[in-house]
Symmetry: C2
């Protein structure tokens, strides 16, 4: 089996790569070829014995998508995107990367023809929803995003469904919760603080909290995000039906509850590292995001996540800090 | 005031043009310039005394959209689209006209800049929804179209909302019911039979019914569709909020009830002109369409339509047949 990952140099892309290389197979089929692309050069994963192609390339540039699918990967994990904050500040870049890049990929797949019909797992986002919301958002709730990023994700979901319906590919879009705790440095996502208020204190550094502690949000760990993608790649067209976009399960909690979990899991000394610095732009973006879902379809299809933010913090300590704080 | 109509040569475009020329004004402001574009040459409307520009042109072709908005029309009625049947049989053309043409228009508006912020009334469709449905579809129900046409309309709604939110224009999308009774010749819309089973018998001709009489659908007259557009052009950003797409009211009835209304309104001799010829492709497309809505937002915002299919037939007889059958 040949697997392609776009956005492979990103945090989730690297974790997905590592998991696939470690497993050596995807749902029982040996991975004998792996293509990793990103706008920044993807790292060579350690220990992969199959054919490996790495490329620093931009799917939205002419001819790139055609070249990328020429090798007919059977499973494509399409993660490439710029994040919410950047899509909001750079309108052109957001549409180019997040919409045109995805469309170029889908079109390139369609134009291969000849019976080629790969599985395409697309990472959408709960930012595709927009306030006002019911208390728990059902699977049938409409997408009325309040950011350009959310708009681009919602449009790509529609394209993926239509290309699937037309038989050009087998798509599944998974609306990821905010990924917490993100390892590494802060990125330009407006949601970055949800992670940094945990990650920085645990690393002995100060963190900035730009919103009120009452802000409620929907979280899953990076490890769980990868497990969602792997699970999605195994769903059949019969299981999915025509509604190929699924809201993923997550942990619903407030920023205040995140901080309480930090104290419970790691001890008393960390919460004092969090500095309150209200940021109206961040607060405005986040206020339009959803905080609680009722993701029945995904649960019925076997997607599973952490049960509490305590557990999410423990995953971070295990996976990123070698089990030590 | 300068008004632009795209798709001006289509049935609704011509009726909208005629109404605007007859009124001479839009919500109290005199119309002193009118630009009419379409891929086929728009006819010169009789009796318009202001500046008139007519052009046979394709918005999706390079440079066309920029040229069209260079005159800075204050109100744009964006009707240009290919119909559902054609978008389903010609994938490339559907995306080019219905998606790329709309995006080119929005981009051209954005690039004018300099405080230019026109009102854009976009005609979307209930085909943006896809089965399975609740008995009456609420305003918060998700868009999961089952045709490429519906997908293109749903994507354009998302773009319009984002361009509105970013302040590039003031958009409003109205999801039109199926327009019945369409005058003139059949077009390639899969929904065409809903009109032809009324129109052809009243004109002394046979009509073909490709689906079962139990098929239920959502209708409004051409006259009402025009009144929806005029009303939409007067809504303020404060009235709309960020959810700029509205499902329009309509008349819900079965094909059988349409035929009964025909007999009630026009007499006994017409229904026998309807020939049953089942068409599986039409039946499949129509089966994925919605049939009943609960359009509370539109009703609260003052949109109104016929109360019965009898009334829709009477409007057809008045507007198209000079009051005579």
């Amino acid at each position: 089996m040949h697997v392609l990952i776009t956005g492979a140099a990103g945090m989730i892309g690297r974790k997905l790569t590592a998991r696939l290389v470690k497993d050596g197979a995807l749902h029982g089929r040996t991975i004998d070829a792996l293509t990793l692309i990103d706008v920044i050069p993807p790292e060579k994963p350690a220990g992969f014995i199959g054919r490996l192609d790495l490329a620093a390339t931009d799917l939205s540039a002419p001819g790139v998508a055609e070249a990328v699918v020429a090798g007919r990967p059977g499973v494509i994990f399409h993660l490439a995107a710029i994040v919410s904050g950047e899509a909001e500040t750079d309108f052109d870049k957001g549409y180019r990367i997040n919409l045109d890049g995805t469309r170029a990929l889908l079109e390139a797949i369609r134009k291969v023809g000849d019976g080629y019909r790969p599985k395409v797992v697309f990472t959408s986002s709960v930012a595709a929803f927009g306030a006002p919301f019911p208390e728990a958002i059902p699977d049938e709730f409409h997408l009325t995003p309040l950011t350009s990023y959310g708009t681009q994700k919602a449009i790509c979901e529609l394209l993926l469904a239509d290309y699937t319906r037309r038989g050009f590919l087998e798509g599944v879009a998974i609306r990821l919760p905010t990924i917490s705790v993100r390892p590494g440095k802060p990125n330009r996502a407006a949601s970055g603080f949800f992670s940094s208020i945990i990650r920085e204190p645990l690393a002995g550094m100060d963190a900035v909290l730009p919103v009120d502690e009452s802000v409620r949000h929907w979280h899953a760990s990076p490890r769980t995000a990868v497990s969602f993608m792997i699970h999605a790649a195994d769903l059949t067209a019969a299981q999915l039906g025509p509604r190929v976009a699924l809201t993923m399960p997550g942990v619903c909690c407030t920023v205040g509850e995140q901080i309480e979990a930090l104290t419970r899991v790691a001890g008393d000394k960390f919460a004092s590292r969090i500095r309150r610095e209200p940021d109206p732009m961040i607060a405005r973006i986040v206020a339009g995001w959803p905080s609680r879902f009722d993701p029945r379809r995904a649960l019925a299809l076997g997607f599973a996540c952490e049960r509490s933010f305590d557990e999410i913090i423990r995953v971070h300590i295990e996976d990123e800090l070698g089990g030590n704080v």
